[in-house]
């Protein structure tokens, strides 16, 4: 299994994914000058922009690596030769998933460090109203990473049932949007504003709320940008939620992949 992870990680590097990231990451250099356009919150704006750019890069990586890596192997018929080796299908799939997750971790570490440098530079232009809480910033970036690893698990799940890359790519994008909006939709449906909605719609909304991933739980932006204290619950619960939800997705993907007919 460790071998599978190493081989897949090497394959990602061979695909020169990092080159692409570096080109987009050049935008980080613009953050201090764009932030200086703000009237009163240069540092806060630099944190907002840095976190957004980092999140955007991780999203692109999750979709491109998560949704195409399995499909590409099957399409190129690599899977057949790999699976003829003494390696179970589940190890193969989990190995691939862990490799993508590790690559995301590596990208987050590198880009997170660059983001922190840019924020530090911007804070030199015009100090924040409240001092930057670096721990909140690190936790926010870590929460983003967990969110995207979860999204990769979804991409793998879609890849195991699909024969093309359309479902994995568009399905993953839909899950990303729905997962970010699910809390808002749930709050609206259960607010006095939605009095006129039928109970069936409300129950359906609740069903999807519990079924879909709740990405809002991983959004610690406000705490990172404005230095608002984070409660223990806001950190521990999402981590536990991530562990259980992702494991479920990977197990489900493995079960489907083991039973899949390879032609």
């Amino acid at each position: 299994m460790l071998n599978t992870v190493a081989v897949n990680l090497r394959a990602i590097f061979r695909d020169r994914v990092f080159h692409g990231i570096v080109v987009v990451a050049l935008l980080f250099l613009l953050i201090p000058s764009v932030s200086s356009l703000s009237m009163r919150q240069v540092t806060e704006l630099s944190i907002t922009l840095a976190l957004s750019l980092l999140s955007l890069i991780l999203l692109l990586l999750s979709i491109s690596l998560g949704a195409t890596s399995l499909w590409k192997d099957i399409e190129r018929r690599y899977t057949y030769s790999v699976l003829s080796l003494p390696l179970s299908r589940s190890s193969y799939l989990v190995g691939k998933f862990v490799a993508v997750a590790l690559f995301l971790l590596l990208a987050t570490l590198v880009l997170g460090a660059v983001a922190c440098c840019m924020i530090w530079l911007a804070s030199g232009i015009y100090p924040a109203d409240r001092p930057i809480v670096w721990m909140n910033l690190v936790l926010c970036i870590a929460a983003d990473l967990l969110k995207y690893v979860m999204l990769v698990a979804y991409a793998f799940l879609f890849s195991t049932v699909s024969t093309s890359f359309f479902l994995p790519i568009f399905g993953t994008i839909s899950v990303f949007l729905a997962g970010n909006a699910s809390q808002q939709a749930y709050d609206y449906v259960h607010s006095p504003l939605a009095k006129t909605l039928s109970p069936v719609v409300k129950q359906a909304a609740s069903f999807f709320y519990y079924l879909l991933p709740n990405f809002s739980a991983f959004n610690l932006r406000i705490n990172a940008i404005y230095g608002i204290p984070l409660s223990m619950k806001a950190v521990v619960l999402p981590v536990m939620y991530f562990c259980i939800y992702t494991t479920l997705l990977v197990v489900l993907a493995t079960v489907i992949f083991t039973r899949r007919e390879m032609k």
Partner: protein, 287 residues
């Protein structure tokens, strides 16, 4: 060989010329587009919240930067004169959307307070923004300070002003705010406080257009205060209000009538207050 190159050049040249002609025409057209068109269609806040996923704060900040650039672009930097009428309703809507996407964004509150109150008289709207913001930025003394100022200076509601100044004092640990509301009661206190307030606002602003707008207003108010002091001295000496500002000059209380930086002319109202034909705006000064 040569003819091939020439042929290629003849093919490329018209395209290049066409491109230059179109790109300059396009840039001209884009520059003249009104604000709402320039900003493009703004979807409802709820749609933006759902579609911006985890980039809500960024979308809010970008909307706010758009407003700042629009305003800065319209205010001529040299003389602070407006080149074309500003679409304030569109600006208010955009600020509202921006603050709903990120209710912590100080730029939105600051801009609303600096521009919407003085330039458009939308004090109630600014107070709605600020009071909403106080629920989120519950550590920030500036928001209650702004609301307190608006209640005292514009709305003459000294009771509420005192309440917000007390809140500003609690949050900042500075008791100066408590004595502020009382000073508005004095006749020229209001102008004096406005001068101090505008100076503070201008000092803290990094946006040159907003800063300039505040400083010009402060300069106008400094001249109004000079006139008010001369008027009060006249009342003390003669026991009645002067008939005009010229009378203050004749009485030796003023060297001359100061110039209104907005281009208008200062006048003495029948109730003794000082106003200007400009209405303290450049568009008024041009009339």
């Amino acid at each position: 060989m040569m003819s091939k190159t020439v042929r290629k050049l003849f093919l490329v040249l018209p395209i290049l010329v066409g491109y230059l002609a179109v790109v300059f025409a396009l840039a001209d057209y884009m520059r003249s587009k009104p604000f709402v068109e320039k900003l493009g269609y703004i979807p409802s806040v709820n749609t933006m919240k759902a579609m911006s996923a985890d980039h809500r704060e960024t979308v809010g900040a970008l909307l706010m930067l758009k407003v700042l650039m629009y305003y800065g672009g319209l205010v001529d930097k040299a003389s602070n004169e407006l080149e074309m009428p500003i679409d304030y309703p569109a600006m208010s809507r955009t600020i509202d959307a921006s603050l709903k996407l990120d209710p912590y964004n100080m730029d939105g509150y600051y801009f609303a307070q600096a521009i919407l109150t003085w330039n458009v008289g939308q004090v109630a709207l600014a107070n709605t923004f600020l009071e909403r913001g106080m629920e989120y930025r519950d550590w920030d003394w500036q928001l209650p300070y702004f609301v307190g100022f608006n209640y005292a200076y514009f709305l003459k509601d000294y009771g509420r002003a005192a309440k917000y100044y007390r809140r500003a004092a609690e949050l900042s640990g500075n008791n100066m705010f408590i004595s502020l509301a009382g000073r508005y009661m004095q006749r020229s206190g209001s102008t004096e406080m406005a001068i101090v307030y505008l100076g503070n606002m201008a000092r803290n602003s990094r946006d040159q257009a907003v800063k300039k707008s505040l400083l010009v207003r402060q300069a106008a108010f400094i001249r109004v205060l000079e006139l008010e002091k001369a008027r009060d001295a006249f009342v003390q000496q003669h026991g009645k209000l002067p008939g005009s500002l010229e009378e203050l000059v004749r009485a030796g209380l003023l060297r001359g009538i100061p110039r209104d930086p907005y281009g208008g002319k200062f006048i003495l109202q029948s109730d003794g207050s000082i106003s200007s034909t400009s209405g303290f705006s450049f568009s008024g000064g041009k009339k």
